[in-house]
Amino acid sequence: MTTTRRRWRIPGGRVRLGWLGLAPFAAYLAVFFVLPSVLVLFSAFRRVDPDTGVHSFTLQNWSDSLHGAYLKGLENSIQLAAVTAVISAVLGLVLAYAISTSRRPFFKQLVSTSSAVLANFGGLPLAFLFVAVLGSAGVLTSTVQSLFGLSLQDDLHFSLFSIRGVELVYLYFLIPLMVLVITPALEGIRPQWREAAENLGATGWQYWRWVAAPVLLPNVLGSTVLLFCGSLSAFATASALTNGTLAIVPLQIDTAVSGNVLVGQENLAAALALNMIVIVVPLTLIYQLLQKRTTTWLR
Protein backbone atom coordinates (compact mmCIF):
# COMPACT_ATOMS: atom_id res chain seq x y z
CA MET A 1 0.00 0.00 0.00
CA THR A 2 2.79 2.42 0.85
CA THR A 3 4.22 2.19 -2.65
CA THR A 4 0.82 3.00 -4.07
CA ARG A 5 0.30 5.93 -1.76
CA ARG A 6 3.53 7.48 -2.89
CA ARG A 7 2.45 7.34 -6.49
CA TRP A 8 -0.61 9.45 -5.78
CA ARG A 9 1.41 12.27 -4.28
CA ILE A 10 3.19 15.12 -5.91
CA PRO A 11 6.87 14.55 -4.95
CA GLY A 12 7.57 16.54 -1.82
CA GLY A 13 4.02 17.89 -1.67
CA ARG A 14 1.30 16.83 0.69
CA VAL A 15 -1.58 16.97 -1.77
CA ARG A 16 -3.07 13.62 -2.62
CA LEU A 17 -4.25 13.42 -6.17
CA GLY A 18 -6.35 10.32 -5.57
CA TRP A 19 -9.36 12.53 -4.96
CA LEU A 20 -9.23 13.38 -8.64
CA GLY A 21 -10.41 9.84 -9.26
CA LEU A 22 -13.83 10.96 -8.07
CA ALA A 23 -13.85 13.87 -10.50
CA PRO A 24 -15.40 11.99 -13.47
CA PHE A 25 -18.34 10.91 -11.32
CA ALA A 26 -18.82 14.41 -9.93
CA ALA A 27 -18.48 16.01 -13.36
CA TYR A 28 -20.87 13.56 -14.98
CA LEU A 29 -23.61 14.18 -12.43
CA ALA A 30 -22.98 17.91 -12.55
CA VAL A 31 -23.55 18.01 -16.31
CA PHE A 32 -26.34 15.48 -16.75
CA PHE A 33 -28.25 15.85 -13.50
CA VAL A 34 -27.47 18.98 -11.51
CA LEU A 35 -27.31 21.31 -14.52
CA PRO A 36 -30.71 20.30 -15.98
CA SER A 37 -32.29 20.47 -12.52
CA VAL A 38 -30.93 23.94 -11.90
CA LEU A 39 -32.00 25.04 -15.37
CA VAL A 40 -35.58 24.03 -14.58
CA LEU A 41 -35.47 26.32 -11.55
CA PHE A 42 -33.85 29.09 -13.59
CA SER A 43 -36.05 29.05 -16.66
CA ALA A 44 -39.22 28.77 -14.60
CA PHE A 45 -38.61 32.39 -13.72
CA ARG A 46 -37.46 33.64 -17.13
CA ARG A 47 -39.37 35.13 -19.98
CA VAL A 48 -38.54 36.23 -23.49
CA ASP A 49 -40.14 39.35 -24.84
CA PRO A 50 -41.73 38.21 -28.13
CA ASP A 51 -41.06 41.55 -29.85
CA THR A 52 -37.59 42.49 -28.70
CA GLY A 53 -36.22 39.03 -27.83
CA VAL A 54 -34.94 40.35 -24.53
CA HIS A 55 -34.73 37.91 -21.59
CA SER A 56 -35.83 38.97 -18.15
CA PHE A 57 -36.91 37.54 -14.80
CA THR A 58 -40.61 37.14 -14.07
CA LEU A 59 -43.08 35.43 -11.77
CA GLN A 60 -45.62 35.20 -14.61
CA ASN A 61 -44.88 31.55 -15.60
CA TRP A 62 -45.21 30.41 -12.07
CA SER A 63 -48.44 32.29 -11.59
CA ASP A 64 -49.76 30.87 -14.90
CA SER A 65 -48.88 27.37 -13.78
CA LEU A 66 -51.16 27.82 -10.76
CA HIS A 67 -54.19 29.19 -12.59
CA GLY A 68 -56.90 27.96 -14.90
CA ALA A 69 -56.33 24.68 -16.73
CA TYR A 70 -52.95 24.20 -15.08
CA LEU A 71 -54.37 24.57 -11.58
CA LYS A 72 -57.01 22.00 -12.53
CA GLY A 73 -54.21 19.74 -13.80
CA LEU A 74 -52.34 20.07 -10.53
CA GLU A 75 -55.49 19.25 -8.56
CA ASN A 76 -56.17 16.23 -10.78
CA SER A 77 -52.59 15.04 -10.38
CA ILE A 78 -52.63 15.31 -6.61
CA GLN A 79 -56.03 13.65 -6.37
CA LEU A 80 -54.96 10.84 -8.71
CA ALA A 81 -51.75 10.29 -6.77
CA ALA A 82 -53.48 10.37 -3.38
CA VAL A 83 -56.29 7.99 -4.32
CA THR A 84 -54.01 5.46 -6.02
CA ALA A 85 -51.37 5.68 -3.26
CA VAL A 86 -53.82 4.99 -0.44
CA ILE A 87 -55.64 2.17 -2.25
CA SER A 88 -52.44 0.45 -3.32
CA ALA A 89 -50.86 0.90 0.11
CA VAL A 90 -53.77 -0.92 1.77
CA LEU A 91 -54.11 -3.66 -0.85
CA GLY A 92 -50.35 -4.05 -1.21
CA LEU A 93 -49.92 -4.43 2.54
CA VAL A 94 -52.54 -7.18 2.72
CA LEU A 95 -51.05 -8.93 -0.29
CA ALA A 96 -47.50 -8.64 1.00
CA TYR A 97 -48.56 -10.17 4.31
CA ALA A 98 -50.25 -13.07 2.56
CA ILE A 99 -47.10 -13.63 0.51
CA SER A 100 -44.64 -13.26 3.38
CA THR A 101 -46.35 -16.02 5.35
CA SER A 102 -45.57 -18.42 2.52
CA ARG A 103 -42.81 -20.92 3.14
CA ARG A 104 -41.98 -21.57 -0.49
CA PRO A 105 -38.83 -19.69 -1.53
CA PHE A 106 -39.58 -20.28 -5.21
CA PHE A 107 -42.99 -18.63 -4.89
CA LYS A 108 -41.51 -15.64 -3.09
CA GLN A 109 -38.80 -15.31 -5.71
CA LEU A 110 -41.40 -15.36 -8.46
CA VAL A 111 -43.51 -12.70 -6.73
CA SER A 112 -40.51 -10.49 -6.04
CA THR A 113 -39.26 -10.63 -9.65
CA SER A 114 -42.72 -10.10 -11.14
CA SER A 115 -43.36 -7.18 -8.79
CA ALA A 116 -40.08 -5.61 -9.84
CA VAL A 117 -41.02 -5.92 -13.51
CA LEU A 118 -44.42 -4.31 -13.01
CA ALA A 119 -43.30 -1.68 -10.53
CA ASN A 120 -40.19 -0.43 -12.30
CA PHE A 121 -40.28 -1.32 -15.95
CA GLY A 122 -43.99 -1.67 -16.77
CA GLY A 123 -45.05 1.86 -17.73
CA LEU A 124 -45.83 1.79 -21.39
CA PRO A 125 -46.68 -1.90 -22.03
CA LEU A 126 -49.20 -1.79 -19.17
CA ALA A 127 -51.20 0.87 -20.96
CA PHE A 128 -51.60 -1.34 -24.04
CA LEU A 129 -52.31 -4.36 -21.89
CA PHE A 130 -55.31 -2.56 -20.44
CA VAL A 131 -56.42 -1.24 -23.81
CA ALA A 132 -56.62 -4.87 -24.90
CA VAL A 133 -58.72 -5.73 -21.85
CA LEU A 134 -60.89 -2.68 -21.18
CA GLY A 135 -60.55 -0.50 -24.27
CA SER A 136 -63.48 0.01 -26.63
CA ALA A 137 -62.68 -3.27 -28.44
CA GLY A 138 -61.19 -4.92 -25.35
CA VAL A 139 -61.77 -8.51 -24.36
CA LEU A 140 -63.64 -7.71 -21.15
CA THR A 141 -65.58 -4.89 -22.78
CA SER A 142 -66.93 -7.16 -25.52
CA THR A 143 -67.53 -10.04 -23.10
CA VAL A 144 -69.65 -7.85 -20.84
CA GLN A 145 -71.44 -6.52 -23.89
CA SER A 146 -72.30 -9.96 -25.30
CA LEU A 147 -73.08 -11.67 -21.99
CA PHE A 148 -75.05 -9.00 -20.19
CA GLY A 149 -75.81 -6.57 -22.98
CA LEU A 150 -74.12 -3.83 -20.97
CA SER A 151 -71.78 -1.21 -22.33
CA LEU A 152 -68.95 -0.25 -19.97
CA GLN A 153 -68.97 3.25 -21.36
CA ASP A 154 -72.70 4.01 -21.43
CA ASP A 155 -74.27 1.78 -18.80
CA LEU A 156 -71.50 1.44 -16.24
CA HIS A 157 -70.02 4.90 -16.88
CA PHE A 158 -66.50 3.55 -16.99
CA SER A 159 -63.98 4.72 -19.51
CA LEU A 160 -60.40 3.49 -19.52
CA PHE A 161 -59.33 6.82 -20.93
CA SER A 162 -60.75 8.91 -18.09
CA ILE A 163 -59.09 9.63 -14.77
CA ARG A 164 -60.90 6.63 -13.22
CA GLY A 165 -59.47 4.36 -15.89
CA VAL A 166 -55.95 5.71 -15.39
CA GLU A 167 -56.32 5.13 -11.64
CA LEU A 168 -57.20 1.50 -12.29
CA VAL A 169 -54.12 0.98 -14.46
CA TYR A 170 -51.85 2.77 -11.97
CA LEU A 171 -52.92 0.28 -9.29
CA TYR A 172 -51.49 -2.42 -11.50
CA PHE A 173 -47.95 -1.14 -10.96
CA LEU A 174 -48.37 0.60 -7.59
CA ILE A 175 -49.60 -2.49 -5.70
CA PRO A 176 -46.49 -4.48 -6.73
CA LEU A 177 -44.37 -1.49 -5.71
CA MET A 178 -46.00 -1.56 -2.27
CA VAL A 179 -45.33 -5.31 -2.03
CA LEU A 180 -41.68 -4.66 -2.88
CA VAL A 181 -41.10 -1.90 -0.35
CA ILE A 182 -43.13 -3.31 2.56
CA THR A 183 -41.99 -6.96 2.42
CA PRO A 184 -38.64 -6.35 4.18
CA ALA A 185 -40.51 -4.62 7.01
CA LEU A 186 -42.98 -7.50 7.34
CA GLU A 187 -40.14 -9.98 7.39
CA GLY A 188 -38.40 -7.92 10.05
CA ILE A 189 -41.17 -8.66 12.53
CA ARG A 190 -39.81 -11.19 15.01
CA PRO A 191 -41.88 -14.28 15.70
CA GLN A 192 -40.67 -13.91 19.31
CA TRP A 193 -42.76 -10.76 19.69
CA ARG A 194 -45.88 -12.68 18.84
CA GLU A 195 -44.90 -15.53 21.15
CA ALA A 196 -44.19 -13.11 23.96
CA ALA A 197 -47.53 -11.38 23.43
CA GLU A 198 -49.39 -14.68 23.35
CA ASN A 199 -47.64 -15.92 26.49
CA LEU A 200 -48.78 -12.75 28.21
CA GLY A 201 -52.33 -13.61 27.17
CA ALA A 202 -52.79 -11.25 24.22
CA THR A 203 -55.39 -12.05 21.59
CA GLY A 204 -54.58 -11.84 17.90
CA TRP A 205 -56.19 -8.41 17.67
CA GLN A 206 -54.30 -7.13 20.71
CA TYR A 207 -51.02 -8.34 19.23
CA TRP A 208 -51.68 -6.47 16.00
CA ARG A 209 -53.02 -3.36 17.72
CA TRP A 210 -50.29 -2.95 20.34
CA VAL A 211 -47.22 -4.66 18.91
CA ALA A 212 -47.15 -5.15 15.14
CA ALA A 213 -49.01 -2.01 14.05
CA PRO A 214 -46.88 0.49 16.00
CA VAL A 215 -43.70 -1.09 14.60
CA LEU A 216 -45.00 -1.14 11.03
CA LEU A 217 -46.81 2.19 11.00
CA PRO A 218 -43.87 4.47 10.10
CA ASN A 219 -42.90 2.11 7.30
CA VAL A 220 -46.43 1.89 5.94
CA LEU A 221 -46.81 5.68 6.02
CA GLY A 222 -43.40 6.11 4.39
CA SER A 223 -44.28 3.63 1.68
CA THR A 224 -47.56 5.43 1.03
CA VAL A 225 -45.63 8.67 0.56
CA LEU A 226 -43.32 6.86 -1.85
CA LEU A 227 -46.28 5.52 -3.82
CA PHE A 228 -47.75 9.03 -3.95
CA CYS A 229 -44.54 10.36 -5.49
CA GLY A 230 -44.35 7.46 -7.94
CA SER A 231 -47.93 7.98 -9.00
CA LEU A 232 -47.53 11.75 -9.30
CA SER A 233 -44.48 11.56 -11.53
CA ALA A 234 -45.61 8.66 -13.72
CA PHE A 235 -45.81 9.68 -17.34
CA ALA A 236 -45.66 6.81 -19.81
CA THR A 237 -48.86 4.98 -18.83
CA ALA A 238 -51.10 8.03 -18.80
CA SER A 239 -49.53 9.43 -21.95
CA ALA A 240 -50.02 6.26 -23.97
CA LEU A 241 -53.46 5.54 -22.55
CA THR A 242 -55.07 8.92 -23.07
CA ASN A 243 -52.93 10.08 -25.96
CA GLY A 244 -51.83 13.03 -23.86
CA THR A 245 -55.32 14.45 -23.37
CA LEU A 246 -55.78 13.86 -19.63
CA ALA A 247 -55.33 17.06 -17.63
CA ILE A 248 -52.53 16.06 -15.25
CA VAL A 249 -49.24 17.87 -14.74
CA PRO A 250 -46.82 15.42 -16.45
CA LEU A 251 -48.92 15.39 -19.62
CA GLN A 252 -49.30 19.16 -19.54
CA ILE A 253 -45.52 19.47 -19.43
CA ASP A 254 -45.27 17.28 -22.52
CA THR A 255 -47.95 19.28 -24.35
CA ALA A 256 -46.26 22.57 -23.43
CA VAL A 257 -42.86 21.60 -24.81
CA SER A 258 -43.69 19.38 -27.75
CA GLY A 259 -46.71 21.12 -29.24
CA ASN A 260 -46.36 24.00 -31.64
CA VAL A 261 -43.52 25.85 -30.09
CA LEU A 262 -45.10 29.05 -28.91
CA VAL A 263 -42.89 31.62 -27.31
CA GLY A 264 -42.71 31.14 -23.57
CA GLN A 265 -44.15 27.61 -23.54
CA GLU A 266 -40.75 26.20 -22.57
CA ASN A 267 -40.70 28.50 -19.56
CA LEU A 268 -44.21 27.50 -18.63
CA ALA A 269 -43.16 23.84 -18.82
CA ALA A 270 -40.28 24.65 -16.50
CA ALA A 271 -42.70 26.22 -14.03
CA LEU A 272 -44.91 23.11 -14.18
CA ALA A 273 -41.87 20.89 -13.68
CA LEU A 274 -40.83 23.05 -10.75
CA ASN A 275 -44.26 22.54 -9.15
CA MET A 276 -43.73 18.79 -9.34
CA ILE A 277 -40.26 19.04 -7.85
CA VAL A 278 -41.54 21.26 -5.05
CA ILE A 279 -44.10 18.60 -4.14
CA VAL A 280 -41.88 15.53 -4.56
CA VAL A 281 -38.66 16.64 -2.85
CA PRO A 282 -40.08 17.33 0.65
CA LEU A 283 -42.14 14.14 0.49
CA THR A 284 -39.05 12.10 -0.33
CA LEU A 285 -37.33 13.63 2.68
CA ILE A 286 -40.31 12.62 4.84
CA TYR A 287 -40.04 9.10 3.43
CA GLN A 288 -36.36 8.95 4.36
CA LEU A 289 -37.17 10.18 7.85
CA LEU A 290 -39.90 7.59 8.35
CA GLN A 291 -37.60 4.86 7.03
CA LYS A 292 -34.99 5.84 9.64
CA ARG A 293 -37.56 5.58 12.42
CA THR A 294 -38.51 2.11 11.30
CA THR A 295 -35.02 0.73 11.12
CA THR A 296 -34.67 1.26 14.85
CA TRP A 297 -36.94 -1.75 15.31
CA LEU A 298 -36.71 -3.72 12.15
CA ARG A 299 -33.32 -4.98 11.21
Binding site: F32, L35, P36, N120, L124, V139, E198, F235
Partner: protein, 300 residues
Amino acid sequence: MVAVTSVAAGSANPPEVVTSRASRRRLRPWRGLILAVAALYFVGPVLAAFWFSIHNSHTGIDFHAYTGFFSAQGFGTAFRMSLLLGLATVLITLILMVPTMLLVHLRYPRARAWVETFSLLPLVIPPVALVVGVRDIISFTGEDRFLGTPVATVMNFLQGNQPWLLSLLYVVMALPFTYRALDAGLRGSSVTTLVEAARNLGASWPVVVWRVVLPTLRTSVLNAGLLAFALVLGEYTMAKILNFSPFPVWLARFGDTDGQLQVGLSLLSLALTWVLLLTIAGVAGRAPGTARFPFRRRTS
Protein backbone atom coordinates in the same frame (compact mmCIF):
# COMPACT_ATOMS: atom_id res chain seq x y z
CA MET B 1 -39.23 6.96 -10.97
CA VAL B 2 -39.18 6.72 -7.22
CA ALA B 3 -39.55 3.03 -7.76
CA VAL B 4 -36.12 1.79 -6.94
CA THR B 5 -35.36 -1.68 -5.88
CA SER B 6 -32.16 -2.79 -4.37
CA VAL B 7 -30.25 -5.61 -5.84
CA ALA B 8 -28.93 -7.94 -3.22
CA ALA B 9 -29.56 -6.50 0.19
CA GLY B 10 -26.05 -7.51 1.13
CA SER B 11 -26.70 -8.75 4.60
CA ALA B 12 -28.14 -12.12 5.47
CA ASN B 13 -31.85 -12.73 4.98
CA PRO B 14 -34.08 -11.42 7.72
CA PRO B 15 -35.98 -14.13 9.58
CA GLU B 16 -39.16 -15.16 7.83
CA VAL B 17 -42.53 -14.36 9.32
CA VAL B 18 -43.40 -17.40 11.32
CA THR B 19 -46.75 -17.44 12.98
CA SER B 20 -47.76 -19.81 15.70
CA ARG B 21 -49.58 -22.94 14.63
CA ALA B 22 -52.98 -21.81 15.85
CA SER B 23 -52.87 -18.48 14.07
CA ARG B 24 -51.49 -20.16 10.97
CA ARG B 25 -54.59 -22.34 10.86
CA ARG B 26 -56.84 -19.33 11.29
CA LEU B 27 -54.94 -17.49 8.59
CA ARG B 28 -55.03 -20.14 5.92
CA PRO B 29 -58.43 -19.59 4.26
CA TRP B 30 -57.89 -15.83 4.22
CA ARG B 31 -54.45 -16.22 2.73
CA GLY B 32 -55.77 -18.46 -0.01
CA LEU B 33 -58.55 -16.04 -0.85
CA ILE B 34 -56.23 -13.03 -0.96
CA LEU B 35 -53.68 -14.80 -3.14
CA ALA B 36 -56.40 -16.06 -5.47
CA VAL B 37 -57.92 -12.61 -5.94
CA ALA B 38 -54.45 -11.13 -6.49
CA ALA B 39 -53.59 -13.82 -9.02
CA LEU B 40 -56.83 -13.12 -10.87
CA TYR B 41 -56.16 -9.38 -10.90
CA PHE B 42 -52.55 -9.66 -12.05
CA VAL B 43 -52.66 -12.68 -14.37
CA GLY B 44 -56.14 -12.09 -15.78
CA PRO B 45 -55.32 -8.98 -17.82
CA VAL B 46 -52.18 -10.65 -19.19
CA LEU B 47 -54.17 -13.64 -20.42
CA ALA B 48 -56.94 -11.43 -21.77
CA ALA B 49 -54.38 -9.29 -23.58
CA PHE B 50 -52.79 -12.40 -25.05
CA TRP B 51 -56.20 -13.52 -26.30
CA PHE B 52 -56.74 -10.05 -27.79
CA SER B 53 -53.41 -10.25 -29.60
CA ILE B 54 -54.17 -13.58 -31.30
CA HIS B 55 -57.95 -13.44 -31.79
CA ASN B 56 -59.78 -11.37 -34.35
CA SER B 57 -63.54 -11.68 -34.81
CA HIS B 58 -63.18 -11.50 -38.60
CA THR B 59 -60.21 -13.73 -39.28
CA GLY B 60 -60.24 -16.00 -36.22
CA ILE B 61 -57.01 -16.94 -34.50
CA ASP B 62 -53.63 -16.04 -35.93
CA PHE B 63 -50.24 -15.29 -34.52
CA HIS B 64 -49.16 -12.44 -36.77
CA ALA B 65 -48.57 -10.25 -33.71
CA TYR B 66 -45.73 -12.55 -32.71
CA THR B 67 -44.38 -13.49 -36.10
CA GLY B 68 -44.88 -10.36 -38.15
CA PHE B 69 -43.26 -7.67 -36.04
CA PHE B 70 -39.84 -8.01 -37.65
CA SER B 71 -41.26 -6.84 -40.92
CA ALA B 72 -43.43 -4.12 -39.34
CA GLN B 73 -42.50 -0.75 -40.69
CA GLY B 74 -39.87 0.97 -38.57
CA PHE B 75 -39.52 -1.84 -36.05
CA GLY B 76 -35.98 -2.75 -37.10
CA THR B 77 -34.71 0.82 -36.87
CA ALA B 78 -36.40 1.50 -33.54
CA PHE B 79 -35.37 -1.74 -31.91
CA ARG B 80 -31.80 -1.42 -33.12
CA MET B 81 -31.71 2.09 -31.69
CA SER B 82 -32.93 0.81 -28.31
CA LEU B 83 -30.40 -2.02 -28.28
CA LEU B 84 -27.50 0.31 -29.10
CA LEU B 85 -28.70 2.84 -26.51
CA GLY B 86 -28.88 0.02 -23.98
CA LEU B 87 -25.37 -1.20 -24.72
CA ALA B 88 -23.96 2.32 -24.61
CA THR B 89 -25.73 3.00 -21.32
CA VAL B 90 -24.34 -0.18 -19.77
CA LEU B 91 -20.84 0.59 -21.04
CA ILE B 92 -20.81 4.19 -19.82
CA THR B 93 -22.31 3.14 -16.47
CA LEU B 94 -19.63 0.55 -15.87
CA ILE B 95 -16.74 2.73 -17.04
CA LEU B 96 -17.95 5.54 -14.81
CA MET B 97 -19.11 3.64 -11.75
CA VAL B 98 -16.74 0.68 -11.31
CA PRO B 99 -13.58 2.82 -10.84
CA THR B 100 -15.49 5.40 -8.78
CA MET B 101 -16.94 2.85 -6.40
CA LEU B 102 -13.69 0.95 -6.18
CA LEU B 103 -11.86 4.12 -5.25
CA VAL B 104 -14.47 4.98 -2.62
CA HIS B 105 -14.44 1.46 -1.27
CA LEU B 106 -10.67 1.02 -1.12
CA ARG B 107 -9.35 4.44 -0.41
CA TYR B 108 -11.93 7.07 0.49
CA PRO B 109 -14.59 5.52 2.72
CA ARG B 110 -15.47 8.99 3.93
CA ALA B 111 -16.61 9.95 0.43
CA ARG B 112 -18.98 7.02 0.36
CA ALA B 113 -21.93 8.88 1.90
CA TRP B 114 -21.59 11.57 -0.77
CA VAL B 115 -21.39 9.17 -3.66
CA GLU B 116 -24.36 7.27 -2.29
CA THR B 117 -26.46 10.40 -1.82
CA PHE B 118 -25.72 11.65 -5.32
CA SER B 119 -26.33 8.23 -6.84
CA LEU B 120 -29.77 8.01 -5.26
CA LEU B 121 -30.71 11.64 -5.95
CA PRO B 122 -32.02 11.01 -9.48
CA LEU B 123 -34.93 9.26 -7.77
CA VAL B 124 -36.06 12.57 -6.36
CA ILE B 125 -36.44 14.52 -9.59
CA PRO B 126 -39.13 13.05 -11.85
CA PRO B 127 -37.75 12.33 -15.35
CA VAL B 128 -40.58 14.33 -16.86
CA ALA B 129 -39.31 17.38 -14.92
CA LEU B 130 -35.60 16.75 -15.53
CA VAL B 131 -36.14 16.48 -19.26
CA VAL B 132 -37.41 20.07 -19.36
CA GLY B 133 -33.96 21.16 -18.18
CA VAL B 134 -32.35 18.98 -20.81
CA ARG B 135 -34.43 20.71 -23.48
CA ASP B 136 -33.13 24.04 -22.16
CA ILE B 137 -29.56 22.83 -22.66
CA ILE B 138 -30.39 21.66 -26.19
CA SER B 139 -32.02 24.91 -27.18
CA PHE B 140 -29.24 26.98 -25.58
CA THR B 141 -26.46 25.11 -27.36
CA GLY B 142 -28.49 25.33 -30.57
CA GLU B 143 -28.25 29.12 -30.63
CA ASP B 144 -26.44 30.85 -33.47
CA ARG B 145 -23.47 31.86 -31.40
CA PHE B 146 -22.38 28.22 -31.15
CA LEU B 147 -22.55 27.61 -34.90
CA GLY B 148 -19.33 26.05 -36.11
CA THR B 149 -17.92 25.60 -32.61
CA PRO B 150 -17.10 22.21 -31.07
CA VAL B 151 -20.15 22.60 -28.82
CA ALA B 152 -22.49 22.49 -31.82
CA THR B 153 -20.57 19.57 -33.36
CA VAL B 154 -20.83 17.54 -30.17
CA MET B 155 -24.52 18.31 -29.70
CA ASN B 156 -25.28 17.41 -33.32
CA PHE B 157 -23.48 14.13 -32.90
CA LEU B 158 -25.41 13.37 -29.71
CA GLN B 159 -28.73 14.03 -31.42
CA GLY B 160 -28.01 12.37 -34.74
CA ASN B 161 -29.53 9.21 -36.20
CA GLN B 162 -28.38 7.38 -33.12
CA PRO B 163 -29.35 9.70 -30.23
CA TRP B 164 -26.48 8.97 -27.85
CA LEU B 165 -27.69 11.88 -25.75
CA LEU B 166 -30.38 9.56 -24.39
CA SER B 167 -27.75 7.07 -23.24
CA LEU B 168 -25.97 9.79 -21.31
CA LEU B 169 -29.24 10.63 -19.55
CA TYR B 170 -30.22 7.01 -18.98
CA VAL B 171 -26.94 6.46 -17.11
CA VAL B 172 -28.20 9.01 -14.57
CA MET B 173 -31.70 7.51 -14.43
CA ALA B 174 -30.29 4.03 -13.88
CA LEU B 175 -27.78 5.21 -11.29
CA PRO B 176 -29.87 4.34 -8.19
CA PHE B 177 -30.22 0.77 -9.48
CA THR B 178 -26.67 0.31 -10.63
CA TYR B 179 -25.20 1.95 -7.52
CA ARG B 180 -27.00 -0.48 -5.25
CA ALA B 181 -26.08 -3.48 -7.34
CA LEU B 182 -22.38 -2.57 -7.31
CA ASP B 183 -22.41 -1.49 -3.67
CA ALA B 184 -23.91 -4.81 -2.57
CA GLY B 185 -21.24 -6.65 -4.56
CA LEU B 186 -18.39 -4.64 -3.03
CA ARG B 187 -19.70 -5.07 0.51
CA GLY B 188 -20.18 -8.78 0.14
CA SER B 189 -16.75 -9.50 -1.34
CA SER B 190 -13.19 -9.56 -0.13
CA VAL B 191 -12.11 -7.24 -2.92
CA THR B 192 -9.94 -5.10 -0.61
CA THR B 193 -7.72 -8.02 0.34
CA LEU B 194 -7.53 -9.29 -3.21
CA VAL B 195 -6.55 -5.89 -4.60
CA GLU B 196 -3.84 -5.45 -1.97
CA ALA B 197 -2.50 -8.91 -2.71
CA ALA B 198 -2.41 -8.20 -6.43
CA ARG B 199 -0.73 -4.85 -5.91
CA ASN B 200 1.89 -6.39 -3.61
CA LEU B 201 2.62 -8.95 -6.28
CA GLY B 202 3.35 -6.09 -8.63
CA ALA B 203 0.22 -5.91 -10.77
CA SER B 204 -0.54 -2.52 -12.32
CA TRP B 205 -3.90 -0.87 -11.68
CA PRO B 206 -5.41 -1.70 -15.10
CA VAL B 207 -4.40 -5.34 -14.63
CA VAL B 208 -5.87 -5.34 -11.12
CA VAL B 209 -9.19 -3.99 -12.37
CA TRP B 210 -9.35 -6.32 -15.37
CA ARG B 211 -8.11 -9.54 -13.80
CA VAL B 212 -8.99 -9.22 -10.13
CA VAL B 213 -11.80 -6.73 -9.54
CA LEU B 214 -14.08 -7.50 -12.48
CA PRO B 215 -13.96 -11.29 -12.04
CA THR B 216 -14.62 -10.90 -8.30
CA LEU B 217 -17.53 -8.56 -8.87
CA ARG B 218 -18.88 -10.29 -11.97
CA THR B 219 -22.26 -10.99 -10.38
CA SER B 220 -22.94 -7.44 -9.32
CA VAL B 221 -21.45 -6.01 -12.51
CA LEU B 222 -23.80 -8.26 -14.47
CA ASN B 223 -26.72 -7.19 -12.26
CA ALA B 224 -25.94 -3.53 -12.73
CA GLY B 225 -25.64 -4.00 -16.47
CA LEU B 226 -28.88 -5.95 -16.82
CA LEU B 227 -30.83 -3.46 -14.72
CA ALA B 228 -29.56 -0.53 -16.78
CA PHE B 229 -30.33 -2.42 -19.97
CA ALA B 230 -33.87 -3.28 -18.84
CA LEU B 231 -34.46 0.35 -17.98
CA VAL B 232 -33.34 1.56 -21.41
CA LEU B 233 -35.48 -1.00 -23.28
CA GLY B 234 -38.62 0.34 -21.61
CA GLU B 235 -37.83 4.03 -21.20
CA TYR B 236 -40.47 6.20 -22.83
CA THR B 237 -40.67 9.56 -21.04
CA MET B 238 -37.38 11.21 -22.00
CA ALA B 239 -37.25 9.74 -25.49
CA LYS B 240 -40.77 10.92 -26.27
CA ILE B 241 -40.37 14.45 -24.93
CA LEU B 242 -37.00 14.87 -26.67
CA ASN B 243 -38.56 13.64 -29.94
CA PHE B 244 -36.46 10.54 -30.49
CA SER B 245 -37.94 7.23 -31.60
CA PRO B 246 -36.44 4.21 -29.88
CA PHE B 247 -38.54 1.06 -29.47
CA PRO B 248 -41.00 2.25 -26.75
CA VAL B 249 -41.83 5.47 -28.62
CA TRP B 250 -42.25 3.53 -31.86
CA LEU B 251 -44.52 1.06 -30.05
CA ALA B 252 -46.76 3.88 -28.84
CA ARG B 253 -46.97 5.57 -32.27
CA PHE B 254 -47.38 2.41 -34.31
CA GLY B 255 -50.46 1.45 -32.30
CA ASP B 256 -52.81 3.29 -34.64
CA THR B 257 -51.99 0.92 -37.47
CA ASP B 258 -52.18 -2.46 -35.74
CA GLY B 259 -53.62 -2.80 -32.26
CA GLN B 260 -52.98 -6.54 -32.04
CA LEU B 261 -49.32 -6.17 -32.92
CA GLN B 262 -49.00 -3.39 -30.34
CA VAL B 263 -50.47 -5.55 -27.58
CA GLY B 264 -48.40 -8.57 -28.64
CA LEU B 265 -45.19 -6.55 -28.56
CA SER B 266 -46.14 -5.06 -25.19
CA LEU B 267 -46.48 -8.57 -23.79
CA LEU B 268 -43.18 -9.58 -25.38
CA SER B 269 -41.34 -6.61 -23.91
CA LEU B 270 -42.78 -7.31 -20.45
CA ALA B 271 -41.70 -10.93 -20.83
CA LEU B 272 -38.21 -9.88 -21.93
CA THR B 273 -37.79 -7.63 -18.88
CA TRP B 274 -39.08 -10.42 -16.70
CA VAL B 275 -36.50 -12.85 -18.08
CA LEU B 276 -33.71 -10.28 -17.60
CA LEU B 277 -34.70 -9.81 -13.97
CA LEU B 278 -35.09 -13.53 -13.38
CA THR B 279 -31.55 -13.91 -14.69
CA ILE B 280 -30.35 -11.42 -12.10
CA ALA B 281 -32.24 -13.24 -9.38
CA GLY B 282 -30.87 -16.59 -10.54
CA VAL B 283 -27.30 -15.37 -10.63
CA ALA B 284 -27.63 -13.59 -7.29
CA GLY B 285 -29.16 -16.70 -5.73
CA ARG B 286 -26.12 -18.79 -6.61
CA ALA B 287 -23.44 -16.32 -5.58
CA PRO B 288 -22.34 -16.52 -1.97
CA GLY B 289 -22.86 -13.51 0.23
CA THR B 290 -25.87 -12.14 -1.63
CA ALA B 291 -29.49 -12.27 -0.65
CA ARG B 292 -31.89 -14.71 -2.22
CA PHE B 293 -34.44 -12.06 -3.16
CA PRO B 294 -32.56 -9.29 -4.82
CA PHE B 295 -35.33 -6.85 -5.73
CA ARG B 296 -35.72 -5.33 -2.36
CA ARG B 297 -35.45 -1.85 -1.17
CA ARG B 298 -32.82 -1.75 1.48
CA THR B 299 -34.32 -0.52 4.72
CA SER B 300 -31.15 0.11 6.67
